[in-house]
């Protein structure tokens, strides 16, 4: 084996040791399937190995790996069907409603009071576990729109482009995502 290749192999193995859990966790929050997440992590490192010579430490290694993974996640959804995000959006719009025809909270959907005063409570692992589970339960387009905004800190315009949605749809998606996330946290964490 030429020296260059074995050096790269060694380097990728080192990156794998350091970042595979981080990437896996990143993927799982976004794809809702452990096998898909494993495959995406694997593909990320394969691409990383191929592209290692052109990487040249221009950015942080973790940033570079996440950028590769992120593209793979978007591709994963695009591969599912041509207009996958559009289908996901249609599916979202027929789910049951939080408000009645006048736009007032349905009786069983009204927010109840949370005890958020406890700083201790949010240090707990359970809190983040529940949060991750609630994210995973969102439908695909909601989860992606939400995560790209809140975890990846992307511009609304870029998100719309990547997900192939209009900005009006974007706000509907985010609004519904947040209603569901809040409800899910209330049911599964607050009432623990």
């Amino acid at each position: 084996m030429p020296k260059q290749i074995s050096d790269n192999n060694k380097k990728i193995a080192e990156l794998f040791t350091n970042y595979s859990d981080y990437l896996y966790n990143y993927a799982i929050t976004r794809v809702n399937d452990t096998h898909v997440a494993e495959d995406l992590v694997q593909e990320t490192f394969i691409s990383a190995l191929k592209g290692y010579d052109s990487f040249q430490s221009k950015s942080k290694e973790s940033t570079w790996l996440i950028a590769i993974l992120k593209n793979k996640i978007i591709d994963h959804y695009r591969k599912k069907s041509k207009q996958y995000f559009q289908h996901s959006l249609d599916e979202m719009q027929i789910m049951d409603d939080f408000f009645n025809s006048k736009g007032t909270w349905q009786t069983d959907q009204r927010p109840s009071k949370w005890d958020m005063d406890t700083d201790k409570a949010i240090e707990q692992k359970e809190f983040y576990e529940t949060l991750q589970q609630c994210l995973v339960r969102l439908n695909d387009i909601q989860r992606m729109a939400f995560v790209m905004k809140h975890l990846d800190d992307e511009d609304t315009d870029d998100i719309c482009k990547e997900l192939e949605i209009t900005s009006t749809n974007y706000w509907v998606i985010i609004h519904r995502a947040k209603l569901q996330l809040r409800k899910c946290m209330e049911t599964n964490w607050v009432k623990l």
Partner: protein, 81 residues
């Protein structure tokens, strides 16, 4: 969305969500304020929504899910092929 000063809960929560990302018009901010001052459910929504936003940003840094060792070794073998 209705034009008048009185917003529904649905429209209020929509604007409350939007407010976290974009600067709203004076008119919208006033309408939200009016509604929130009268509606305890939307006020709770606003507070809890903000709380979740603040926490969710930390999610990628709290590693929760890990690959098990067997999977890791398998992936590592496959990468090198």
């Amino acid at each position: 969305m209705k034009r008048g000063i009185m917003l529904s809960c649905e429209d209020t929560t929509h604007l409350v969500v939007k407010k976290a990302y974009e600067k709203l018009s004076m008119w919208d901010r006033m309408r939200i304020f009016m509604h929130l001052s009268m509606c305890k459910y939307c006020s709770l929504f606003e507070k809890q929504n903000k709380f979740i936003d603040d926490q969710v940003a930390k999610l990628d840094d709290v590693t929760l899910s890990k690959l098990d060792q067997d999977t890791k070794e398998k992936i590592l073998q496959d990468i090198k092929k």
